[in-house]
């Protein structure tokens, strides 16, 4: 109650200021006038009475001030005063302000940028209702080591009907469509959703509706729900789109709904169609191709659901041992985790790096403030003499540093928004499934701004506290003009030296991290992909099954297209492959030599692709043994295959495989191995080489053709001609991802490249700031020791001696900093190791190199003031007493 009373009184005081002031005036005037009247009554003359009354009352203004203070009005008033005064002080020292604000802007900007990235990838709420209840459910095959196995329709049906933990379950599979009828044919990335999928996600359509259960049946399934971006780009947000038709794969589809703008699941999906189970899946429990999304019932934890699903999977494994023996487990992964992918460790490293940068910036600005405080001693003394309390002075100094922090923060946010544009390139849109989250933009939203404001204020308090306390402690200091050799000087400069040592140590740690990622990136760049990415143009073509119903049609299409492309001037070789390396597309099958009695579930797995004869030549994949495919390996010829080196080693170590026959899952009859080729880094250079098996396209034609075209000059030079060649064969065929192999290779390293650039930038910033800090300390000490140096010179010290004296001081700090930094780097770099390739986190060359760079720059920073010390004129220095 009392607190409330006080609050109301405070509120009234703050909000009704002028009224309160008026009342206070009236009250005091009443007092003095009544007092004067009493004096007049006791015989004092009227004029004299008022004067006497005023004098006896005492300081009226002071009384008013104290009255105001009782109501807490003064805090606000004082703050405004401090802010005004602080701004004036900052304006008076533009050089100091500029350096401090710039330093802080770097530190806060870097932190804000990384936070905005973390906010986008890890923190921002997903655009689904209660998104933390959403989990993806996968099969888990322990024998094979498949932790996120796709699910068969039959298993899915049992999971859905038997579980008690999910509110709903939906299944999906990725599909592609060729859109025709609106300009150039376009390849669309789409998903087929079971009818409950949208309900599980909890997102309602913007227009129309989502799918009805009966629309999963063949014949009724030619309906489509559009994504907002597709609706916007293709139909100009036509509100009457629902009910209209579009042509997908040459067949008519009816638009039944449009999803809202924020909804794009899975990422990159342009439209959705109903999920109709493949007929073969109706009686094959091992026909696994579905991705399952489920919503936990309220109160059910992920662990409980996991236990329940494992029980169901174990029961199915018992009931259907033939197909499910090794599928007796499941794997539940939260949607958020699936979406953010493998980026978490990288983000944590970046976050620690920027917090180091901020610490260095803080130390630097604290140093600046301390050296400026020396120059403000007189000001402090004057203010103390005029009645400012110590607390008031500390508050004044803190206000100033917080102002600096906020100014730095404001510039920092602008820096950060520039930085976010660079960071988006970390997530190239052309790469699929390489464990990189899909990020189209990194917004600076309210959370990011709040973060920046909080960091700015905290930063201001951190770097301002010690200088403020020191300034406050100086209130009894002298107003004398000279104050050389003050008692506090030694302690102050020791503190400043400690700050610089910390800066040097932190920068060394950052430099080491930057050096390691740089060397690791160079290692990746130099790494052999297993093929030659230079001068190769790629494009992806998916002939629609509605038009290309038989393998023969696909073979004809491919033969004619490859032939046309090969006749383009400047093309050296052209071929097609099902799954282009580095594209993120892949398929795997089990392989076993004919006659080897290995159970299906223990056979080695290999990535497979169907290729046309010239594919290997176009990609530059070397032939190690035997021969490439040729024209003779056609539909009527005996089945053949080419395997990669590591698969050869896996199947039969140390034996000649040529001419041996092998069984490949999904291929009828055994095929003869006619060649062995080199391994490629199909999944990206950061991952292991993969075992591959290649089949001739003419014998196993899938409806996916990725063209690889080796050119003499710039691969993009033939892009238009190659597209025309394909449209000569089929004018309605969509062509997607026209890009050079080297670009694809570069994009597959995008996260590593951005990581390297960012750590390099942070290391550079840290180095620069530490150098500035060291320079400040040495320059300050030279200035303080001018007198001493003058004495030394007049006593016979040569310039070289002075140089040694000053450089020695700098070198001492550098050595301590490097020592601590190396120790820190040794301990901390193990947290970076998951981001490194081909280099140990404690690589001595990198550490030594970083230490040398730091020492060289630091010595340079102390050399500048040392030269100034050398030129001290002893006469001037001694006279200046």
């Amino acid at each position: 109650m009392r607190a409330w009373n006080r609050f109301v009184s405070w509120l009234r005081a703050v909000t009704q200021r002028s009224r309160m002031e008026g009342e206070m005036d009236a009250e005091l005037r009443f007092h003095i006038e009544t007092f004067a009247e009493d004096l007049v009554r006791s015989g004092v003359p009227r004029e004299e009475a008022l004067r006497r009354a005023r004098i006896e009352f005492g300081g009226i203004e002071r009384a008013k001030e104290e009255c105001r203070e009782t109501r807490g009005v003064n805090h606000l008033e004082a703050l405004a005063q401090d802010v005004r005064y602080g701004l004036r002080m900052l304006r008076k020292n533009p050089g100091f302000t500029a350096i401090a604000v710039f330093t802080l802007a770097l530190g806060i900007g870097a932190n804000t940028a990384i936070f905005s990235l973390i906010n986008t990838v890890l923190l921002r709420p997903l655009p689904y209702k209660n998104a933390d209840q959403l989990v993806t459910v996968w099969g888990y095959n322990r024998t094979r080591g498949f932790t996120t196995n796709l699910v068969s329709p039959l298993d899915f049906a049992d999971w859905r009907s038997q579980n008690l933990v999910f509110e709903g379950m939906g299944a999906s599979t990725d599909v592609t469509y060729t859109l025709t009828g609106t300009g150039e044919p376009a390849l669309l990335i789409a998903y087929s959703f079971s009818s409950e999928y949208f309900h599980v996600l909890g997102v309602a359509p913007l227009l129309g509706r989502t799918f009805l259960p009966e629309e999963e049946e063949p014949g009724k399934n030619h309906v489509v729900v559009l994504s907002y971006s597709f609706w916007q780009n293709r139909f100009g947000r036509n509100p009457g789109i629902v009910g209209q038709g579009i042509t997908l794969d040459g067949a008519p589809y009816t638009v039944v709904g449009v999803m809202p703008a924020g909804f794009k699941y899975p990422p990159r999906t342009e439209l959705w169609t109903p999920l109709t189970a493949i007929p073969e899946a109706a009686n094959h429990r091992d026909y696994r191709y579905l991705r399952v999304m489920a919503r936990l019932k309220p109160g059910v934890t992920l662990q409980q659901a996991q236990t329940e699903m494992n029980t169901i999977a174990a029961r199915l494994a018992l009931a259907y041992p033939k197909t499910n023996k090794d599928e007796d487990l499941t794997n539940l992964i939260g949607l958020r985790e699936i979406i953010s992918g493998d980026i978490r460790p990288a983000l944590l490293v970046l976050l620690s790096a920027v917090s180091f940068v901020l610490l260095i910036a803080c130390a630097n600005v604290a140093n600046l403030l301390l050296s400026r405080a020396a120059g403000r001693r007189r000001e402090v003394a004057v203010r103390a003499a005029l009645g400012a309390s110590r607390a008031r002075l500390v508050r004044q100094f803190l206000t100033e540093s917080m102002l600096l922090g906020l100014l730095g923060g404001a510039f920092g946010v602008s820096l950060a928004s520039l930085c976010t544009r660079a960071m988006v390139t970390m997530f190239p849109p052309t790469i699929f499934n390489l464990n990189i989250p899909h990020v189209e933009q990194i917004p600076i939203d309210g959370w990011v701004l709040g973060f920046a404001a909080a960091v700015s204020l905290i930063t201001g308090a951190v770097f301002g506290l010690v200088p403020a306390l020191q300034a406050g402690a100086n209130t009894n200091g002298s107003m004398k003009e000279t104050s050389r050799g003050q008692a506090g000087g030694a302690r102050g400069s020791r503190f400043r030296s400690a700050l610089v040592v910390a800066e040097l140590a932190l920068s060394l740690i950052l430099l080491t991290a930057a050096g390691l990622t740089l060397r690791s990136f160079v290692y990746l760049l130099r790494g052999n992909l297993g093929f030659n990415p230079e001068h190769v143009l790629t494009m992806r073509v998916l002939p629609p099954s509605s038009k290309y119903k038989t393998g023969a049609q696909l073979i004809e299409f491919s033969n004619r297209a490859v032939e046309q492309i090969q006749s383009i001037p400047g093309v050296k070789a052209a071929g097609t492959v099902t799954f282009l390396p580095l594209s993120g597309w892949q398929g795997s099958r089990s392989v076993a030599l004919e006659g080897q009695a290995i159970p299906q579930n223990q056979r080695p797995m290999a990535l497979w692709s169907s290729v046309t004869p010239d594919y290997f030549r176009a990609m530059g994949i070397p032939l190690l043994e035997g021969r490439f495919f040729g024209e003779r390996d056609n539909q009527d010829a005996p089945g053949v295959a080419i395997i990669s080196k590591s698969l050869a080693r896996k199947i039969v170590p140390n034996a000649d495989l040529l001419g041996k026959r092998t069984n490949v899952d999904g291929v009828k009859g055994a095929v003869e191995i006619v060649g062995v080729v080199g391994d490629v880094h199909h999944l990206g250079i950061t991952l292991e080489m993969t075992s591959e098996i290649y089949l001739p396209f003419a014998q196993a034609p899938p409806p996916i053709l990725c063209f690889a075209i080796r050119t003499e000059e710039d691969p993009y030079g033939v892009a238009k001609a190659a597209e025309r060649a394909i449209w000569n064969v089929d004018k309605n065929q969509a062509i997607a991802f026209v890009m050079s192999m080297s670009q694809l290779a570069a994009e597959s390293l995008a996260p590593q490249r951005v990581m390297m650039l960012m750590l390099g930038a942070f290391g550079g910033m840290a180095l620069l700031m530490a150098a500035i800090g060291l320079y400040g300390v040495i320059a300050n000490s030279v200035a303080q020791r001018t007198h001493e140096i003058g004495v030394r010179i007049s006593l016979g010290a040569r310039p070289g001696d002075v140089l040694k004296l000053v450089l020695g001081q700098g070198l001492g700090l550098v050595l301590i900093g490097v020592g601590i930094g190396l120790g820190g780097a040794f301990v901390l770099m193990r947290f970076v190791s998951s981001l490194l390739y081909g280099i140990r986190p404690t690589d001595p060359v990198t550490m030594g190199g970083a230490a040398l760079v730091l020492a060289a720059v630091a010595l340079l920073a102390s050399y500048v003031p040392a030269r100034r010390a050398m030129r001290v004129d002893p006469m001037v220095a001694l006279r200046y007493e």
Partner: protein, 113 residues
Amino acid sequence: MDKQMELLQGTLDMLILKAVSLGPLHGYGILLRIQQISKDRLEIQQGSLYPALYRLEHQGWIASEWGESENKRKAKYYRLTAAGRRKLQTEAEKWNRMADLIEGILGTTAEEV
């Protein structure tokens, strides 16, 4: 007449509460009332009276309203609130206990130790 005494630290609040407990008064009136009860033996800094009044009002022990004074002017009158009455009581008890204690200490003779 006794020499005027300076007010002990912290006792002004108690005296103000006592003064207004006898009936609503304006600031100047409170000053006069205290001087009158103390038979002019207490010297109160006039300037320090108002901050004390504002503080007591802020804490809710006295309340104020504008009224007309004896000399027909607008004046701000202070009166004791219920909380203020309780406060005055506890403060007075505390004061008496303290006074007894101090008196006891100061009155101690050598034989009693």
